[in-house]
C-alpha cells in the first residue's frame, strides 16, 4: 500500500504527549512509593491545583498533595503493602486475572491473552512466566509504547491502525477489569492517595477511550 502522509501530525503529537504524560502519572501513582522526593517534586512542579477539576479522584489527590508530610507518605507506604504488595493477604491485587478469573487467581486466562497481544507487537514481559503479564503497570506501559509508536508514525494508514490498536487494547485488556479493581480498592482503603488514584485511573481510562474514538473518527472523515 502506498504511504499516505498524515498532515495533522503536528497537532496530533501534543495530544499523544499529554496522554502519555497522564499514563506516566498513573504509573507513578501505582508504583511502590519508595522515594519521598518524587512526591515532593510532583507537588511542587505538578500544578496540583488543576487536579481539583478532575472529578472525585482528582480532588482526593489534590488534598493529599496539599497536606503532604513525611508521616503521610510513610503511612501510604504501609497502605501500599497492605493493598497491593504484601506480605500477607493483599486486598486489591494489581493483576487483571484476579478480577477476571472465576477463582481470583493469577496466571489465568487473561494473563495469556494479554501476553499474546504483547507478542504480536514484538514485545515480551521481561519477567514472563515469573510474574503475571497482566499487571496494571505493565498494561499501562504497553499503552505508552503504543502511544510512542504512534508518535513516530507519519503514515496516515499506520496512525489509524495504531489508534485502533489502542482502542482495542483498552477495551479488551485494560478497561474490563478496572471497575472491579476500583470497587475493591475503594472498599478496602481510606487512603486519599489510593482512593484518589483508582478513581482517577478509572475516569481517565474511560475518557481516553472516548478521546481515541473521537480522534479516529475525525481522522477518517
Amino acid at each position: 500500500m502506498d504511504s499516505v502522509p498524515f498532515k495533522q501530525q503536528n497537532e496530533l503529537i501534543p495530544i499523544l504527549i499529554a496522554r502519555k504524560n497522564f499514563y506516566q502519572f498513573l504509573i507513578f501513582l501505582f508504583s511502590e512509593p519508595k522515594n519521598n522526593e518524587y512526591f515532593i517534586e510532583i507537588r511542587d512542579n505538578g500544578k496540583m491545583n488543576e487536579l481539583e477539576e478532575m472529578g472525585k479522584g482528582g480532588q482526593l489527590l489534590h488534598h493529599f498533595f496539599l497536606s503532604l508530610t513525611d508521616e503521610k507518605i510513610k503511612a501510604e507506604k504501609e497502605e501500599y503493602s497492605r493493598l497491593f504488595l504484601g506480605p500477607g493477604p493483599i486486598r486489591a491485587p494489581l493483576w487483571a486475572s484476579f478480577y477476571l478469573s472465576k477463582d481470583h487467581l493469577l496466571f489465568d486466562e487473561s494473563t495469556y491473552q494479554v501476553r499474546k497481544f504483547y507478542h504480536q507487537y514484538g514485545l515480551q514481559y521481561i519477567k514472563e512466566n515469573n510474574e503475571p503479564d497482566d499487571h496494571l503497570l505493565l498494561e499501562i506501559e504497553f499503552m505508552v509504547s503504543l502511544i510512542d509508536s504512534c508518535s513516530e508514525e507519519t503514515d496516515r494508514f499506520q496512525i489509524n491502525r495504531l489508534l485502533a490498536d489502542q482502542i482495542y487494547f483498552l477495551t479488551t485488556h485494560l478497561l474490563p477489569w478496572i471497575p472491579a479493581f476500583m470497587k475493591t480498592v475503594i472498599k478496602n482503603t481510606e487512603s486519599q492517595l489510593y482512593k484518589g488514584a483508582v478513581l482517577l485511573l478509572h475516569d481517565f481510562l474511560t475518557f481516553d477511550l472516548e478521546v481515541l474514538c473521537e480522534i479516529k473518527e475525525a481522522i477518517l472523515e
Binding site: F28, G88, H104
Partner: protein
C-alpha cells in the same frame, strides 16, 4: 497547515482543552515521571513464529506434594506455555493392591489455586514494625542473605552455638530436602545448633511404646489387614488425615473380605462413615479406663492367651514378675484390684469413659475371640496428659489376646512400620550434642539455661544459653501449632529473648508474622524432589520441577548456599550436590545401588512418576520374635515384651509413670475439679480441608469444609445454643469465636474444633478464626515431655 482544517481544529482546540489533557499536556514531564517505572518489556524474539495458544501442546508433568499429610499422591500438572493450566491426579485403576492408585485428596484439587494464589509471598522482606505486628518492607535477596549471615555469626559468637535453633516444621518435610535441612547443614558447618528430639504427632507413644516392645515399629503392612477378622481403629481417622494414600483401599478390601471394623472415637468421623460397622463414642483422655475394663473382661472370662503371655511377656501375672518386685504389681493383679481394691470392671469403666458396660464386654469378647484381630491406635488419643498410658495400654491388650506377630494381627502401640526406603544424600553432622524435647522449645527460649534432665535435656547437664536465634522453615509451630498461643506470643514479642527469627514460607502464616527476615519459598511445582509417604507405604513419588519459581521465590537450599558463601563454608555446604536436582539424581543412583537394584533410573522414574516397591508377603510386626524368641529377642532389657517395665519402675514415680499401663485421671480431664468452671472437654482433629495448618488461607477449601466446632445437642441446649450460632470458647489461657455445628455426631460433654486454623486475634486478643491452640496447654506429658493438646477444659457461650 490550514487553520480551518476541521481535524486540526478538533485536535488543537477541542481535545487539548479537555481537563485531563490540558493538565497533563501542560505539566510537561516533570523529571520524575519519566524516571518512574523501569522499562519492563524486551523484544519478543519469536515474533514471527507465534502460534496461537490453542496450538501450544499441553504437557503433562508428574509431580508430588511434600506437605505433612500422611498421604503422598501423584499430582499431574498440565502445563501450557510455562503455566500450569490444570491439575489432575493418578488415573490408574485400583484392582492390583500391590500397585495401588495414588490419588489426591480434596486438598489436591486446590493445588493450582495455591500455586497462583495472589497472596503468595513473592519477595524477601524485612520487619519494620514491632515483632509480630505484621509490618514489612521489601528488600533485595542480597540484603536478606547478608543479614542472615551476620546474625548467624553474631549470635553464635555472642551466645554460643546452643543458642541457635531450627524449629520443628513440617510444611515440606516429606521430600529429600527443604528449608530445615538447609539451615541445619549451614549451622552445623558454623559451630552447630541446639537439637530437638521427638515430634508433635506421636510424641508420648514414641517414648512409651519402646518400654513395652523395645521399638516403635509395632505395626504391620496394610496388606496384612486383608487377613484380619476384627479391626479396631482406636482414635484413628484416615478418611480425613489420610495417614497413607493407599491405606483406605486396603481397609475397604479388608471390609469386603469380611473383617468387622470398630472405630473408637469421641466423634462420628468420616472414617466411621466410610468403614465402620460400629462406632464407640468415648470421652477423651479416658481410653485407658476402657482398655483396663476390656482387659478385666478378657482375663476374668479366661479369654486371654496364657501361653503367649507365659512365653513372650513379663509382668502379666504373679508368676512372671521381674525379680524383687512385689507380685501384686502385675497386670492381672491390677485389673482384679488386688492391691488398690478396685476391680477394673466394665461398670467401673463406664462411669469414667461413658462407654456402656455391656458394650465393653462385647468388644472385649469380640477382640479376644475373632482372631486374627488388629488393634490399630491412632495418635490423637495419645496427645493427652498421660498419653504414654494409651500407647502401652493398647499393647497390653494385643498381648493379652496374643494378637502379636501373626498374620492379620497388629501389635498396637505407636504402630510404625516401614520396608521401602530411598537414600537421602543430604547429610550434616551437628557438633552440638545437647538436645531438648521438641515440645519444650518455648521453655528453652524462656529459661534454657535452667533446664535439666528432668525437662528432658540430654547431651549436656546445662545449656550455656537460652535460644536466641530461630529458623522457622515452612512451619507453623512458631505460634499456631504449638500449645498456648497467647503465652508463646508474649515470648516472641519480647525482642530481647529471641533476637532474630527467620521464616521461609509460601504465605503469610501466623508464624511468618513473627519473622525478622521473611523469605518467599517455593511450592513443590517449582522444584525437584522425591516424595515419600509417612513411613507407611511401599512407594515413592517423583517430584518434577514443573515450572520455574514464581516472583522472587527461591529454594532454601540455594539461599543457604549463599549464606554459607558469606560465612566461608560454601564448598562444604554443597558437598552432597550443588543443586537440588543433583541431590535427586544422587538419591536415585544410590538407592538403586545400595538398597534396591530394581529401582528405576532417573529418567525411568521421571517418566513413570512413581515407583512401587513390591513384596511377596505382608510385613508382620514382631513375626521374627514370635517365631523364635530365643534367636530374636525383643529389644527390651529383658528380651521379652515388658508389660511390666522394670526401667519405668526404677524411676520411682509410680503415681504418674506406672510400670504397667494404667488409667490415670488426666488434669483437665473429666474428673478434674476445674470442670466446675470449665465443664466441657475440648479436642481437635485433622480436618480434611487442611493438612495441619497448611492451606487454611485457601478459600476454595473453606467452601469444601468450613471451620466450625462440633457440639452435642444436649450441651448446646443447656447453653441456649442453636446450630449455626456463633459462640465464644474460652478458658484461663485464651478465647476464640467460631460457628457451631450442633450434632449427635459427638459425645456429650465434649466440644471439637478442627485443628490448624490460623490464629487471627482481634484487638482484644480474641481469636476470630477458631484457632484451637489459644486454648491448649504447654504443660508436657510426664514421661515423654510431649504435647498434651487434646487435654483441655473450656466453657462455651453464645456471642
Amino acid at each position: 497547515m490550514k487553520e480551518n482544517n476541521p481535524i486540526t481544529d478538533f485536535l488543537k482546540n477541542k481535545m487539548l482543552r479537555r481537563t485531563f489533557l490540558k493538565w497533563s499536556g501542560a505539566i510537561g514531564v516533570p523529571v520524575v515521571l519519566g524516571g518512574i517505572g523501569v522499562k519492563q518489556f524486551i523484544e519478543y524474539k519469536e515474533a514471527h513464529t507465534t502460534v496461537s495458544k490453542k496450538d501450544i501442546p499441553e504437557k503433562i508433568i508428574s509431580t508430588c506434594s511434600v506437605n505433612n499429610c500422611g498421604g503422598r499422591c501423584v499430582i499431574k500438572a498440565h502445563v501450557k506455555d510455562g503455566v500450569v493450566v490444570r491439575v489432575s491426579t493418578d488415573t490408574q485403576e485400583g484392582d492390583d493392591l500391590s500397585t495401588p492408585p495414588l490419588r489426591a485428596c480434596v486438598r489436591g484439587r486446590n493445588y493450582r489455586k495455591m500455586l497462583y494464589h495472589p497472596d503468595r509471598l513473592k519477595y524477601p522482606m524485612k520487619r519494620v514494625g514491632k515483632r509480630g505486628e505484621g509490618k514489612f518492607e521489601r528488600i533485595t535477596w542480597e540484603e536478606a542473605v547478608d543479614t542472615i549471615a551476620k546474625e548467624v555469626k553474631r549470635i553464635g559468637e555472642t551466645y554460643g552455638p546452643e543458642s541457635r535453633y531450627d524449629n520443628y516444621a513440617s510444611g515440606q518435610c516429606w521430600g529429600l530436602h527443604g528449608g530445615s535441612a538447609a539451615v541445619r547443614k549451614l549451622l552445623s558447618l558454623t559451630g552447630g545448633f541446639l537439637n530437638y528430639r521427638n515430634d508433635y504427632s506421636s510424641g508420648a507413644a514414641n517414648v512409651a511404646t519402646p518400654y513395652t516392645y523395645g521399638t516403635n515399629n509395632s505395626g504391620s503392612s496394610f496388606d496384612s489387614l486383608l487377613y484380619s477378622k476384627y479391626i479396631i481403629l482406636w482414635g484413628q481417622n484416615p478418611s480425613e488425615m489420610i495417614f497413607s494414600t493407599p491405606y483406605r483401599e486396603y481397609l475397604m478390601k479388608a471390609k469386603l473380605n469380611g473383617a468387622k471394623i470398630v472405630v473408637i472415637d469421641p466423634r462420628y468421623t468420616d472414617t466411621v462413615v466410610a468403614f465402620a460397622d460400629e462406632w464407640i463414642p468415648i470421652l477423651p483422655t479416658t481410653d485407658n479406663a476402657l482398655m483396663d475394663a476390656m482387659g478385666y473382661v478378657i482375663v476374668t472370662e479366661k479369654l486371654h492367651d496364657q501361653a503367649f503371655l507365659d512365653k513372650y511377656c513379663i509382668g502379666f501375672d504373679e508368676a512372671h514378675m521381674p525379680k524383687g518386685i512385689d507380685k501384686k504389681e502385675s497386670v492381672k493383679s491390677y485389673l482384679l484390684g488386688d492391691k488398690d481394691g478396685i476391680a477394673k470392671t466394665p461398670e467401673w469403666a463406664e462411669r469414667i469413659c461413658h462407654v456402656p458396660a455391656d458394650k465393653i464386654r462385647e468388644i472385649a469378647r469380640n477382640y479376644a475371640t475373632m482372631k486374627p484381630a488388629a488393634l490399630i491406635q491412632g495418635w490423637g488419643p495419645q496427645r493427652h496428659a498421660f498419653g504414654e498410658q494409651f500407647a502401652r495400654g493398647g499393647a497390653h491388650l494385643a498381648c493379652l489376646t496374643g494378637n502379636v506377630g501373626k498374620l492379620g494381627c497388629w501389635a498396637a502401640g505407636t504402630g510404625y512400620w516401614n520396608r521401602a526406603n530411598i537414600v537421602s544424600p543430604f547429610s550434616y553432622e551437628n557438633p552440638v550434642k545437647a538436645s531438648i524435647p521438641c515440645f519444650l522449645w518455648t521453655k528453652a527460649v524462656e529459661m534454657g539455661t535452667e533446664m535439666t534432665s528432668a525437662d528432658g535435656l540430654e547431651g549436656t547437664d546445662k545449656l550455656k544459653s537460652s535460644i536466641k536465634l530461630i529458623f522457622n522453615m515452612a512451619g507453623n509451630m512458631l505460634i499456631n501449632q504449638h500449645a498456648d498461643i497467647n503465652k508463646t506470643r508474649k515470648l516472641l514479642e519480647d525482642e530481647s529473648k529471641v533476637e532474630f527469627i527467620v521464616v521461609s514460607d509460601l504465605f503469610m502464616t501466623p508464624s511468618a508474622k513473627y519473622a525478622d527476615i521473611l523469605l518467599p519459598g517455593t511450592t513443590f511445582f517449582e522444584r525437584w524432589d522425591i516424595g515419600v509417604p509417612w513411613c507407611f507405604g511401599d512407594y515413592v513419588v517423583f517430584g518434577e520441577k514443573t515450572i520455574k519459581p514464581l516472583y522472587e521465590c527461591r529454594d532454601e537450599y540455594d539461599v543457604f548456599a549463599e549464606v554459607a558463601g558469606k560465612l566461608g563454608v560454601k564448598d562444604k555446604y554443597l558437598e552432597n550436590g550443588s543443586t537440588i536436582l543433583d541431590l535427586v539424581k544422587e538419591s536415585v543412583k544410590r538407592t538403586k545401588k545400595e538398597l534396591d537394584p530394581t529401582f528405576p533410573s532417573f529418567e525411568e522414574f521421571r517418566k513413570k512418576g512413581v515407583h512401587h516397591f513390591t513384596f511377596n508377603e505382608p510385613l508382620i510386626g514382631f513375626k521374627k520374635q514370635i517365631d523364635d524368641i530365643e534367636k530374636n529377642p525383643f529389644e527390651t532389657p529383658s528380651g521379652k515384651i515388658e508389660l511390666f517395665s522394670k526401667a519405668l519402675w526404677d524411676l520411682h514415680q509410680q503415681e504418674d509413670i506406672p510400670a504397667i499401663a494404667k488409667y490415670i485421671p488426666a488434669w483437665e480431664g473429666p474428673s478434674d475439679p476445674l470442670k466446675e468452671k470449665y465443664p466441657l472437654q475440648l479436642i481437635g482433629w485433622h480436618y480434611k480441608r487442611r493438612c495441619h495448618s497448611t492451606y487454611d488461607n485457601q478459600e476454595w477449601l473453606e467452601e469444601a469444609a468450613k471451620q466450625e466446632m462440633w457440639l452435642n445437642p444436649q450441651d448446646a441446649k443447656a447453653r441456649g445454643i442453636s446450630n449455626g450460632d456463633r459462640v465464644q470458647v474460652f478458658n484461663d489461657r485464651g478465647s476464640l469465636v467460631i460457628d457451631v455445628r450442633v450434632t449427635e455426631r459427638i459425645i456429650p460433654g465434649v466440644a471439637a474444633i478442627p485443628q490448624g486454623a490460623w490464629y487471627s486475634p482481634n484487638e482484644s486478643g480474641i481469636d476470630q478464626r477458631g484457632s484451637l491452640n489459644v486454648l491448649t496447654s504447654q504443660r508436657p506429658t510426664v514421661l515423654a515431655k510431649a504435647n498434651p493438646q487434646q487435654t483441655n477444659l473450656v466453657e462455651v457461650k453464645k456471642v
